[in-house]
Symmetry: none
Subunit: 327 residues, 2 copies
DNA sequence: TTCATGAATGAGCATTTGTTCAACCCTGAA
DNA sequence: TTCAGGGTTGAACAAATGCTCATTCATGAA
């Protein structure tokens, strides 16, 4: 304090503009005086100090820089956020592009951290299924939020013995968070419209569907119908169906709801037989967190973004670049 | 295996913290959101945003520097320009001679402003590496020049995990400018001539080298082989090598190409193992912007000027004086 | 398991900062 | 001289920020 006063009196008299800006900048940003203190010292009004500081920043006399350490892609994230109106984008640095598995794991970890960071008690959380979501649940470090509520948003998949997948995911997640749980005890896809009606009349199924309008957050995987995806492997979607969907323009799905390159729902017979949240309903959810990455996902991710299907994207560096570059 | 996975997880965990700090820093200081807005977007409390911002400043992820604007030392700049036949000299006012860091940052900021001022679309820009260049990239305010092209002019440095440095710099720069990018996917220095030949036959490496004759501008750091330089710290150059080079008269390097007090290239076994642009090639580039400053750089800056290795110099006041005074 | 300890969290409050607005000052023209 | 117009000024208010403190949470020892 005394030091500054001395400094100031030593060159009292007139400080030309730049000198004054520099001085104020240093006092404020380096010596951490308040604007009031500076004003008193220099005998000017506090409002003026505020204005001069603003000027100093404008004139680049005060420079503020934010560094992106290696592996952090804040600017890419920002691009994604503004370009697609996302609430948040998370871009992870994949270890080895070659391994889809590594990418999936990295995204899962990032998603788990995202969940941990954003989880609020009394959230109603929806969860679909897939390898990436499974990675996320694996990476979850327990955190209590007993008033939260996990809802399974699509029925089980494939033959009954594989059905654990969707259900198990929701269960493991609920147990990690220590919260309430509503399962959707039904197959994700049924054989006919009639079968769907019957399923829907089940009281437990009804309850799950009734939760959907109350959702706060949904965690969904963004899938591409490649031959080795879980959907295809489990025979949930047959080869023929896949081709039929492709013919209709489908580039991928969220919770078995297929959409085209513009992110618009595909209307099809298949769609009618799915037991789960619809894309229109999903869009109404406040926060939809989409997880996806790896070489095969570029186009789907882009489509989902275009269609505004998700509000938070967690993906890898290469996919992020590719999505931004392709027009 | 387990250890490895854990490593990745914990590494990622730390990264996420840094990621958050960076993100919040950018949102607050570059995009001027309020803490409340940031808190809402990221689903965390405002108090936490405030604390994280404080942390980001402490951790130097957010840097605030106060400097006099350029043009203050116009006379010095003119002297340098005429005496050494420079196209332009930029002299910045450093705050405290004692802190190499502050000097480096100030030069980085000036360089970023220079880049912004001179950048033309369709430029082919080359970039080496080092702390000063890193500061420059940090200070770059995004500006679109989509037809420009960044080329990495020397391979990655040090052990693979540190290799990000050179590559990351080029990447960040390209992303700030929003332009094309050619990386040089190889180590900056290899063990033997034979290894170099092998590397050179790689198609990506070839492509990077083929860009070099087309360069419009090169941004290079001018390095001094002091024990605490990045080169030495990363073990790129061993202690013995350094002494051997010194014995041959080396006073410093540009992109690992060492030269003597007269700015003449040092012929050595070391030189043969470097994967990057040669000094002779560099001289043919229309505009070579050299960044360097701080007490240890005086002699090397002078040498580079004498040898006509650079056509634009960005440095600090003290170094500029010292270079002009010593005959 | 249970408990203790120290760190992390967010609500609420006090301080600090940005901005508005009416008054004032300068400058040049009539 | 007056007057008009733009630009500055600081008082007062509104907004944003930092900080305190009670509470919760995680971690490690018993």
């Amino acid at each position: 304090m005394l030091i500054h006063e001395q400094m100031i009196t030593s060159n009292n008299g007139r400080l030309d503009g730049i000198r004054l800006l520099t001085k104020i900048g240093k006092l404020y940003y380096e010596h951490h005086l308040t604007q009031q203190e500076i004003a008193d010292d220099l005998c000017i009004s506090r409002a003026k100090v505020s204005r001069l500081l603003h000027e100093a920043r404008d004139e680049n006399i005060v420079n503020i820089t934010v560094t992106s350490p290696p592996g952090v892609h804040a600017d890419l994230e920002r691009h994604l956020e503004t370009r697609f109106g996302l609430r948040e984008a998370v871009v992870v640095e994949e270890d080895h592009w070659s391994s889809q598995d590594a990418v999936t794991r990295a995204i899962g970890i990032a998603a788990a951290q995202y969940l941990r960071r954003t989880l609020q008690d009394e959230d109603v959380i929806d969860i679909s299924w897939g390898r990436t979501l499974s990675s996320m649940v694996d990476a979850l470090t327990p955190r209590a939020a007993p008033e939260s509520h996990i809802v399974q948003l699509i029925g089980g998949l494939g033959p009954p013995e594989a059905e654990v997948h969707a259900t198990d995911l929701a269960r493991r997640m609920a147990s990690a968070i220590g919260c309430k749980l509503t399962l959707l005890p039904a197959p994700g896809i049924v054989d006919s419209q009639k079968a769907k009606q019957i399923m829907l009349s089940d009281q437990h199924v009804k309850r799950a569907f009734e939760m959907m309008p109350q959702l706060d957050v949904a965690y969904v995987g963004i899938g591409a119908p490649t031959p080795d995806s879980v959907v295809m492997q489990n025979g949930v979607v047959s080869c023929g169906q896949r081709e039929a969907l492709a013919a209709l323009g489908a580039v991928g799905d969220i919770a078995l709801r297929f959409f085209d390159a513009g992110g618009q729902p595909i209307v099809s017979e298949f769609n009618e037989r799915v037991l789960g949240i619809a894309l229109e309903q999903l869009k109404r959810v406040k926060r939809v967190v989409g997880l996806s990455g790896g070489p095969e996902k570029r186009h789907v991710v882009r489509a989902a973004l275009k269609g505004g299907l998700i509000s938070v994207l967690i993906t890898d560096y290469r996919t992020a670049c590719s999505v931004l570059n392709s027009n």
